[in-house]
C-alpha cells in the first residue's frame, strides 16, 4: 500500500554559537491515507520541530534541514519553493497549534478570520465565504454559529477557540492535518470533547491526521498507529495496540507507567524523572543515561529500528536481544 506521507532519513539541526545541534534524525516514518498517526515524546523530543518541518515553517536560520526526503502525496516537499509550499498550506495540509489562546488574531472577530482564510484560499465571494464559514462552525459543533461568528477570540473559552481553530484549519479542504498537542492547556473534560471531535471529523472528512502529544493516553485513545520519539529519534513504532500491549523500549514502559489507570496503582515518578547527567552526547543510544536496563554496548552502538513482530519496530539492543532469547 502506497504511503501518503513518507519521511526518509530526515536530519534537522539547529545552528547555535556552540556548534550544530542535531534535533531530529528520523530513519523512516510512513503515514497512510486516512489514518491517525500518533507521535509521542517528552518536551524537547523534537515533536514540534517535525510538525514545523513538514509545513516548511521551521525558522531557517537557525534551523537547517541537513538531508532527507519528505514525500507528501507523491512529491518531495523539500524540493518545493516557498510559493509552492504556500499553496499547499491550507489547501492540502493544515496545522492546529498547541496553544488555542494565542493562535487567533485578537483584533478580528472569529467570523472575519474564517472568512478571510476561505476567501484567500478559494477565491470565492464574501457572501459565499460567509456561508461556508457558518457551515464550518456547525461542523465543529459549536452552539449558535451565527453568534460565534460575531465574537472576538477573547470572548470564547479555550475549548471554543480550539474548535474555531480546527474549523479554520479544515475550511479549505486540507486532507492532512497536523495536530500539535491540540489539547494542551485545556482541562480534561474539554480535552475529551476536542479528541472526540477530531475523531469524528477524521471519519466524516477522510482526513489524515498526525497527532502529536506528550501523553500516551491521548494517543492510544484516537490513533491507529504511533511512534515514540526520544531525543529526535524514533525509538519504537507500530500499531497502537501492539505498542500499548507489548511495549518493548524501556522509555515506552516509562511513558505507559505515567498514565494513571486506577487509584490503587502508584505512579513511579522516579522512573519519569530525568536522571543521571542529563542529555550528555553519547555515541550510542540516546536513552543511555536514563535507561535502567542499559548494557555496555548501548554506550557505543546506536540501536536501529528492528522488527519485533507485525508492524512493530523497536530501536533497543536489550529489547531485541531479550525478544530473541525468549523466542
Amino acid at each position: 500500500m502506497a504511503n501518503y506521507l513518507e519521511i526518509e532519513n530526515l536530519r534537522v539541526s539547529f545552528k547555535t554559537f556552540e556548534g550544530t545541534k542535531n534535533v531530529l534524525d528520523l530513519e523512516y516514518i510512513g503515514i497512510d491515507k486516512g489514518e491517525t498517526f500518533g507521535l509521542v515524546g517528552e518536551s524537547g523530543a523534537g515533536k514540534s520541530v517535525l510538525a514545523l518541518t513538514l509545513l516548511k515553517l521551521l525558522p531557517m536560520p537557525p534551523g537547517i534541514i541537513e538531508n532527507g526526503k519528505i514525500i507528501f502525496d507523491g512529491q518531495d516537499l523539500l524540493d518545493k519553493s516557498e510559493g509552492e509550499m504556500r499553496r499547499l498550506r491550507g489547501r492540502k495540509m493544515a496545522m492546529i497549534f498547541q496553544d488555542p489562546m494565542s493562535t487567533l488574531n485578537p483584533v478580528f472577530t472569529v467570523g472575519e478570520q474564517i472568512v478571510r482564510v476561505i476567501r484567500q484560499n478559494k477565491g470565492v465571494s464574501r457572501r459565499a465565504a460567509e456561508r461556508q464559514a457558518l457551515e464550518m462552525i456547525e461542523l465543529v459543533k459549536l452552539p449558535d454559529p451565527r453568534n460565534i461568528m460575531r465574537k472576538y477570540p477573547h470572548e470564547l473559552s479555550g475549548g471554543q477557540r480550539q474548535r474555531v481553530i480546527i474549523a479554520i484549519a479544515l475550511s479549505c479542504g486540507a486532507e492532512f492535518l497536523i495536530a500539535d498537542e491540540p489539547t494542551r492547556n485545556l482541562d480534561v473534560t474539554i480535552q475529551a470533547g476536542i479528541l472526540k471531535l477530531l475523531a469524528e471529523l477524521k471519519r466524516e472528512l477522510q482526513v489524515t491526521v498526525l497527532f502529536i502529544a506528550n501523553n500516551l493516553g491521548l494517543v492510544s485513545a484516537i490513533c491507529d498507529r504511533m511512534a515514540v520519539l526520544h531525543e529526535g529519534r524514533v525509538v519504537e513504532t507500530g500499531a497502537v495496540r501492539e505498542v500499548i500491549r507489548d511495549p518493548r523500549h524501556p522509555y515506552t514502559h516509562v511513558l505507559l507507567r505515567a498514565i494513571p489507570r486506577n487509584r490503587d496503582e502508584e505512579i513511579d515518578l522516579d522512573a519519569l524523572a530525568v536522571r543521571g547527567e542529563g542529555p550528555v552526547e553519547v555515541k550510542g543510544c540516546g536513552y543511555f543515561n536514563r535507561c535502567p536496563e542499559r548494557r555496555e554496548r548501548c554506550r557505543d552502538q546506536r540501536p536501529v529500528l528492528q522488527p519485533v513482530g507485525g508492524s512493530h519496530y523497536v530501536a533497543c539492543h536489550v529489547a531485541v536481544e531479550g525478544g530473541e532469547r525468549s523466542g
Partner: protein, 295 residues
C-alpha cells in the same frame, strides 16, 4: 443570507461606543474632544459663517486698518483693514487641512515601510531602518526648513516638507511593534494556513500595532500645525494673502506694540488647536493602553 453584512458590524460598533464612553469619562479629554470637533466644524463651515468672506483674500476696506476689537470687527482688523475674526476662522480650515494631509502622507509612507521592515527582518529591515536613521539624525524643524527652502515657499511644499521629515517616526514606532507581533502564534498560524507574506503584514501585523500610532498621530496633528505655522512664520510656508495663522502672526510682528489683537488672536488659535490635539492624544493613549484603561 445578508444577516452578516449588517451584524458583522455590530461588535465594531460596540467597541467604538465603548471607546467613546471611556474617552468622555475623563473631563480634560472630553473638553479636548469637544474642542477638536468644534474646530473641525468651524473648518467645514468657515466659508459660510465668516462675517466678511471677501476679507479672507481680498482687500475691501483699507480705511478700517488696524482697528481694535469692536462689535463690528470681533478680533479687530489688520494693516490692510481686513477682519481678523474672519481670517482666523478661515485659517482653521487651512491649518487642519495642512495637518491632516501632512500627517496622512507621513502615515502613508511610514506605516508600510515600518511594517515591512519589522515583519520581514534581515536586509530589508536594515536598509529601511538605516534610511530612517539618516532622516532622524537631523533636527526635525531644520530638516523641514531645508526641504521647504529647496522646494520653494508655498503651503503645499511646506506640507510635503513636514511629511517628509515626519514619516521616520511612524516607521520606527510601527517597526518596533511589528517585530514583537511577528513572533506571535497567530502569525505563524496564518502562515500555516497559506497566507501570503504581504497579507500577513497588512492583514495581521499592522492591525495589531496600530494603537500607538493612532495616539502618536493625534498628538502630531498639533505638532504639525505648530510646525506649519513656524514655516509660514519664517516665510517658507503659506504666502500672503493666505489667512494662515503662522503667517498672520509673522506679519503682525511689525504692529505688535500698537495692535496687540493682531498677534494675539491667531496665536491663541494655534495654542488652542495644538493643546486640544495633544490632550486628545493623551486621552486616546489612556484608553488604548489596557494598562491604563479602567473599564
Amino acid at each position: 443570507m445578508n444577516w452578516i453584512s449588517s451584524k458583522a458590524l455590530r461588535p465594531r460598533i460596540k467597541e467604538f461606543r465603548l471607546s467613546v464612553h471611556l474617552l468622555s469619562r475623563n473631563r480634560l479629554t472630553r473638553a479636548a474632544l469637544v474642542t477638536v470637533l468644534l474646530l473641525v466644524l468651524i473648518a467645514v463651515v468657515a466659508p459660510v459663517i465668516v462675517p466678511y468672506p471677501s476679507h479672507i483674500y481680498g482687500v475691501e476696506t483699507p480705511e478700517d486698518k488696524l482697528l481694535p476689537p469692536s462689535g463690528k470687527y470681533f478680533f479687530g482688523t489688520d494693516e490692510l483693514g481686513r477682519d481678523i475674526f474672519s481670517r482666523v476662522l478661515y485659517g482653521t480650515r487651512i491649518s487642519l487641512q495642512t495637518a491632516l494631509l501632512a500627517v496622512g502622507l507621513a502615515l502613508l509612507i511610514g506605516i508600510p515601510l515600518g511594517a515591512i521592515a519589522g515583519a520581514t527582518g534581515g536586509f530589508v529591515d536594515e536598509a529601511i531602518m538605516r534610511i530612517t536613521d539618516v532622516f532622524l539624525s537631523f533636527p526635525p524643524l531644520l530638516l523641514a526648513i531645508a526641504i521647504a527652502a529647496f522646494l520653494g515657499p508655498s503651503l503645499t511644499n511646506a506640507m510635503l516638507a513636514i511629511a517628509i521629515s515626519w514619516w521616520p517616526w511612524y516607521t520606527r514606532l510601527i517597526r518596533g511593534q511589528a517585530v514583537s507581533i511577528r513572533e506571535r502564534q497567530f502569525v505563524r498560524a496564518a502562515k500555516a494556513i497559506g497566507t501570503p507574506h504581504f497579507k500577513i503584514i497588512f492583514g495581521h501585523i499592522v492591525p495589531n500595532c496600530i494603537a500607538p500610532v493612532i495616539v502618536q498621530a493625534s498628538m502630531d496633528l498639533g505638532g504639525v500645525i505648530l510646525t506649519a505655522a513656524a514655516l509660514s512664520f519664517l516665510g517658507l510656508g503659506a504666502q500672503p494673502p493666505t489667512p494662515e495663522w503662522g503667517l498672520m502672526v509673522s506679519t503682525s510682528r511689525n504692529y505688535f506694540l500698537n495692535a496687540w489683537w493682531y498677534s494675539i488672536f491667531p496665536g491663541l488659535a494655534i495654542f488652542i488647536t495644538v493643546l486640544a490635539f495633544n490632550l486628545l492624544g493623551d486621552g486616546l493613549r489612556e484608553i488604548l493602553d489596557p494598562k491604563t484603561r479602567k473599564n
